[in-house]
């Protein structure tokens, strides 16, 4: 049995969590010979949007354990891990997983510390099946995704997070009707100490939801200065997307750090990423490699980002991007 921590947004399970459920389901259905597979169960802590249980059933989840109560009204890594640990203890899961988001990695690290087991972050594949008694080897991203590490997880449960876009989220061939199980596990005072006490809205720009954006328009050194972002900001707006920038842009103070994509910024996994004037250093690639499609715009046709992209336009972002914006507006006006 595999237990998945499912994160939700206002409308249901996040896309990354559905990917993780898909990953867990694929792993659970591989033949192990000693019962390493079995059902996939989900744990949701706090908010449970309407329709989430049914949606998880469509992805093959048999039971949704929903942690409720005052203790779970505000996020805290320890208290979320306490909820996950409580479900693990009654279900005796072979593996516990979550998406490789900041929250997913944090909660799993708490769980691994509490259980005294190893943890692998940002797994992209499993060279061996998940058996109860055999070594379980995972393949995970290190050095920001530039290198893969094969790592043995000898402990049970095997605790690991799943990197964004490691698999495509796919509904199960045989959907189930998931059972909802509400529970209020006991938590200690120590678990409650480090919880969020207040949340302020993000700055009024388009980058607030960078990590979950469907489209991200990126800008790098090629922007040329603080006044070089008008075109990309407009394009992000036209595509209902977010603006993401390279580290050099934030280091030079051209844009705020919360817009940074990369190993030490946000790791994004949009449907489409449009890096403009970004050469594609390893550290930036680490943050955007999970993008489904990349359309690079750069004057240097040999820049790493251009050769690794799905599509490319050779040219100056200050000329190409306004032309794209104009073309979008022109076609809209014609309708």
């Amino acid at each position: 049995m595999i237990l998945v921590l499912v994160e939700t947004d206002g409308s249901g399970a996040t896309e990354a969590s559905l990917e993780t459920v898909t990953f867990a389901r694929d792993l659970a259905t591989r033949e192990t010979g000693d019962g390493g597979g079995g059902p996939v169960r989900a744990v949701v802590v706090g908010e449970l949007p309407e329709g989430t249980v049914e949606a998880l059933g469509a992805y093959g989840v048999s039971e949704v354990h929903h942690a409720t109560g005052e203790a779970f009204s505000a996020y805290g890594g320890a208290v979320w891990a306490a909820a996950l640990q409580a479900v693990h203890q009654v279900t005796d899961s072979v593996a516990v997983t979550a998406t490789g988001s900041p929250r997913g990695n944090e909660v799993l690290a708490h769980l691994a510390a509490r259980l005294g087991v190893a943890m692998a972050a940002n797994v992209v594949g499993c060279p061996t099946p998940l058996a109860i008694s055999q070594p379980f080897v995972v393949s995970r991203q290190v050095v920001g995704g530039a290198v893969l590490e094969e790592m043995r997880l000898d402990d049970r449960p095997a605790v690991f997070s799943v990197a964004g876009h490691a698999v495509e989220s796919t509904p199960a061939a045989s959907p189930t009707t998931a059972t909802l199980r509400e529970f209020s596990p006991e938590v200690t005072e120590a678990d409650l100490v480090a919880r969020v006490v207040s949340t302020e809205p993000g700055e009024p720009d388009r980058s607030g939801s960078l990590r979950s954006a469907r489209v991200v328009v990126g800008a790098g050194r090629g922007a040329g200065g603080t006044d070089g972002f008008d075109g990309v900001v407009e394009l992000a707006g036209l595509l209902d997307g977010s603006l993401g920038v390279s580290r050099v842009v934030t280091s030079l103070g051209w844009r705020p750090h919360h817009e940074q994509v990369g190993q030490t910024g946000s790791r994004i996994s949009p449907e489409l990423y449009i890096p403009c004037g970004i050469s594609g250093a390893i550290q930036h690639w680490a943050g955007c490699a999970s993008s489904k499609t990349i359309l690079a715009i750069n004057t240097d046709a040999d820049a790493p980002m251009m050769t690794r992209a799905t599509y490319a336009v050779i040219g100056d972002m200050h000329e190409v991007v306004p032309a794209i914006n104009e073309e979008i507006r022109r076609r809209r006006d014609q309708r």
Partner: protein, 257 residues
């Protein structure tokens, strides 16, 4: 008075091509420089600021080879006043091992009267990306931990930490000291060492200790480089003339309606 311990890790400076060692157990760093990750540079800056504001001291610690003293001197050069090197080959050390070794140093120092109100670490290392050392350290010490924070202020024995939330907002935590926090780049601008700072750093005696326990290890089997992918890029055109093709693509991808 607020005493801060900040933990850093010596990592290769990955700015070009990454090569692996012949035994596939590590990154071949013979031809690159070394640094600490950007998260840890910010953690050092926060440690120095908090210690200065509270009339305390900032101590920097690392677990690594003798050469890691270079990273300790960098932190001393920007305002840390003491340094500890747990000297060992770090290859065999997993996240749990590192946390245990840091906890052992903290316990030994505190037994000798050197207490730490706040322990700062990077959120995750630039090389292994484990996301665990800070949290495991907190459990070893029985202290609260907040993760992924950009700023920390200490007032009356309480740390107020802020960081980005899951939905893009700014989340605030308030935890009583002593506590542990892991830092993400972005909240502070690391300072460069002054010449005076460098001179002072050279004179500080680095405390060198041996690991207390044999490491359990990280479970690493081997490292591999992703297979080199031939470029499959489809060039849509050059300059402004490519705009119609781009908009056609945006439509076909369903991101423009």
């Amino acid at each position: 008075m607020t005493n801060v311990l900040v933990c850093v890790k010596r990592v290769p400076d990955f700015s070009g091509e990454v090569l692996l060692t012949a035994d596939a157990q590590g990154v071949d760093a013979r031809f690159v420089g070394f640094t600490v990750s950007a998260h840890e540079s910010c953690a050092v800056e926060l440690a120095v600021k908090i210690a200065a504001a509270g009339g305390g001291a900032a101590t920097v610690l690392t677990l690594g080879p003798a050469e890691a003293v270079e990273q300790l001197r960098s932190a001393l050069g920007v305002g840390c006043t003491a340094a500890v090197l747990v000297e060992t080959d770090p290859v065999g050390f997993g996240a749990a091992d590192v946390a245990r070794e840091i906890a052992a140093v903290v316990a030994a120092h505190e037994a000798a009267g050197r207490t730490y109100d706040l322990i700062l670490l990077g959120n995750d290392a630039a090389d292994t990306g484990d996301f665990q050392v800070g949290i495991r350290l907190a459990y070893e010490l029985g202290r609260p931990v907040v993760n992924g924070i950009n700023t920390v202020e200490v007032t009356d024995g309480v740390a107020t930490a802020r960081g980005a939330g899951a939905d893009g907002g700014v989340e605030t935590y308030r935890v009583p000291l002593p506590a542990v926090a892991t830092v993400l780049e972005g909240g502070v601008e690391p300072r460069y060492p002054t010449i005076t700072g460098r001179m002072k750093a050279k004179k500080v005696a680095v405390e060198v200790v041996e690991p207390r326990r044999e490491p359990v290890g990280s479970g690493r089997v081997r490292l591999t480089l992703p297979p080199a992918q031939p470029s499959l890029v489809e060039v849509l055109g050059e300059g402004t003339a490519a705009a119609p093709a781009v908009v056609d693509l945006l439509r076909s991808l369903g991101v423009l309606r």
